[in-house]
Amino acid sequence: MTLDSKIPAGPLDRKWTTFKNNAKLIAPNNKRKFDIIIVGSGLAGASAAATLGEQGFNIKCFCYQDSPRRAHSIAAQGGINAAKNYQNDGDSVYRLFYDTIKGGDFRSREANVYRLAEVSAAIIDQCVAQGVPFAREYGGLLANRSFGGAQVSRTFYARGQTGQQLLLGAYQALQAQIARGSVKMFPRTEMLDLVIVDGHAKGIVVRDMVTGEISTHAGDAVLLCTGGYGNAFYLSTNAKGCNVTATYRAYKRGALFANPCYTQIHPTCIPVSGNYQSKLTLMSESLRNDGRVWVPKRREDCGKPPHEIPEEDRDYYLERKYPSYGNLAPRDISSRSAKEACDDGRGVGPGGRGVYLDFADAIKRLGLSTIQERYGNLFEMYENITGENAYERPMRIYPAVHYTMGGLWVDYHLSSNIPGLHVLGEANFSDHGANRLGASALMQGLADGYFVIPYTIGEYLSTQFGKKVDPHHPAFEATKKDVLERTRKLLSVQGTRSVDSFHRELGLLLWDKCGMARDKAGLTEALEKIPQLREEFWKNVRVPGSGDSFNQSLEMAGRVADFLEFGELMCLDALTREESCGGHFRTEYQTPDGEALRNDELFAHVAAWKYEGEGKPPTLIKEPLVYETVKPATRSYK
């Protein structure tokens, strides 16, 4: 099997235009003949549903929450990048493209990333027209802020709630289409399988989470906009319900899963405080603009209150190791350095898994009121969660799983290798390579939904005239039967351990062996332990209640069962990629001073995995990454 990325020929800056000029269109009177299934209602799903619905397609949109407005895109804080160059500071489409591809450690496709940068400006226009209340200057024009990994100010923001405001914009556009009748919304409905008819994705099997009813839905195309798989680690900044089920089920039906080992660990989160903890809370990266990160120089000082540790006994390790970027080093590097300090026994707080983020100098330099103005809400949030006042003693922070760059493999049209199955937003693998820059996730979700899929879906639909799938095709009933059988199996184990206990154990194992730093021995160990844990799960899990009712334990059980398989794929990919790049740091592959050592000769490719059946190892299919315009360089932030 070879992968055709369908990248248009011609110079990089003409590819998208070339594509659009030759794209297959669906005439207005034909659009209403097509039914499109969209799973997920975050930035990608809601924007795609609203746009395609408005164009005249019949849309069915599904989400597991009680309203599409709750999708986890809502939690994004910082902002959205766009190459508007409103600051006249030298920004351009090319520069945004280059920063993104460099930030991704040269492990993403040039053409996709360039297109993302190209449509970024239109996203801002679109959102403002919808009424998104971006921050403004006194002159009434839009304000920008700077963000990690860039030397220009191109980030648009709405206080610390940019994700919320962008999602509400897309949600409102979606609601307008629901009112018009072009979109039918199915809240509290979870996709549990993909229906393949003659090799094409033609429907899904869903569970009504209130009544427990399992039903099938047929469509001419299926769009998965179901987010990332960070919750495989149990503790992450994701919402509790985020899961890999939709994409993993598609993988088991033949869709390729690309780069599952690329996960992003965010450096500034509130540390874990106990084993009851259910999720981790992010503290905006902007805090690193004024806070200084340190740990004690000596292990024996770790128990002391921070103010009793004199200046000369503190190790400001980021400033020491990366003098030119200091506390503003990129996410992957900052996270790894915190881990190294804690591994060295110099971590602070409960369990020794924390480092200080100290504002004492900034308060001295700028005054308390300036710091309150800049970060007041974050300090309040920190105090609410930890009970500590960060104006008086340094914050404790620690890295946490935040975003996943891997996802289902897609071509330039956002189509997976299964005809008809398209994948948008965090659920696909396409734009961020091995590390995502801040404020780029929102950009990608909205680019895919508003501006890419409306142009590319025609490539598939135009081949489907007169090929409407029969909703009574045996494939629907057969797939539904598989889902019912799986549900029955989960409920019938009736063992002694809760779903949550399995999820926690898997999460700890992945965090330990496939987290911020990975090595061959650890990954091999994880690959032995995960199947054992999975086996125990199917022998000893206890799922109370029944399948035909509102049953949150059953919902979680299905998701955790998929994480227990997916975790293995993640570790396998991490083991196979014998290099370090971006968020994937293999300790065996580093420079003498501890930096990531890429191997472009052997690993400048997308690793796409093909499911081969129960108990069989998946096949690795490589899509070489061809750089026509940029030259992969070593990232340096020293």
């Binding site: 009680d66 709750r70 801002i124 959102c127 949150q552």
Partner: protein, 254 residues
């Protein structure tokens, strides 16, 4: 810490429910309210009982999914700063009795235990809580300067997380704070002006049709709102609604 819980249990929309007593034992004071319920649920599962169903998702105070009435106060806001998920157990006294109920309102049918259906709020948005705009046809974002104070006030209103605490707190089960926040957000902005009248008429009528009550100035909504939406937006909505109604009778609605 230990707590006596009285939790509303109800099987499905049609069943009748009741408060059931549970003991929450060995709860760390750093645990959040929802984590306390997680611990209680783990205990119930280990005893072979059905865990308590409750809505939650982001657990960082922004998605609006969590919706518990704690000792009679939506989100337990007399002790917390925002949503239920942002309430921590150290705000309670050891040994305290805590009553946990769903967000109650006629327009929020109960689904199970503590989870309710807030689809009525989505339908209010469908009735006008948007700006009609075709993807790809927008003018340049800086073509329309918006005074900062207007943009800031619109943002204050847009901060609503759609949780429905305002409805649950109101003796009339009114959704006026929710409706007025969305109306104010969009009506204040120049992009929202063309549909202003249609918006307020549509949203208010849908609110009435869903069975939400009217506002009679109790201000309970403002007191429990995790997004600090001020009740003054309700005054703005009333004014806009009156003006739109008059224009409607003269066929001059925007």
């Amino acid at each position: 810490m230990n707590f006596h819980l009285k939790v509303w249990r109800q099987n499905g929309t049609s069943g009748t429910g009741k408060l059931v007593d549970y003991e929450a034992r060995n709860i760390p004071s750093e645990a959040s309210f929802l984590e306390m319920l997680d611990i209680v649920n783990e205990d119930l599962v280990s005893k072979g009982e059905e865990p308590i169903a409750f809505d939650h998702d982001c657990r960082e105070g922004i998605c609006g999914m969590c919706s518990l009435t704690i000792n009679g106060v939506p989100h337990g806001k007399d002790r917390g700063v925002g949503t239920t998920c942002q309430l921590y157990m150290r705000k309670f006294k050891d040994g305290e009795t805590i009553t946990i109920e769903p967000f109650r309102a006629g327009a929020f049918p109960l689904q199970k235990d503590l989870a309710v259906n807030r689809g009525a709020l989505d339908r209010i948005i469908q009735a006008g809580g948007f700006i009609s705009e075709r993807s790809g046809s927008a003018p340049d974002a800086n073509a329309l300067p918006i005074p900062k104070p207007i943009a800031d006030t619109a943002m204050d209103a847009a901060a609503c997380i759609g949780c429905g605490a305002c409805v649950a707190a109101c003796p009339n089960s009114s959704a006026m704070l929710f409706v007025s926040a969305k109306a104010a957000h969009l009506n204040l902005l120049p992009q929202g002006k063309p549909e202003k009248d249609r918006r307020v008429l549509g949203m208010v009528r849908q609110m009435d049709a869903e069975g939400f009550g009217n506002c009679s100035n109790y201000y309970e909504c403002e007191a429990v709102c995790p997004a600090h939406i001020p009740a003054s937006f309700i005054a703005m909505l009333n004014r806009d609604y009156t003006a739109a109604s008059i224009r409607e009778t003269t066929s001059a609605t925007a």
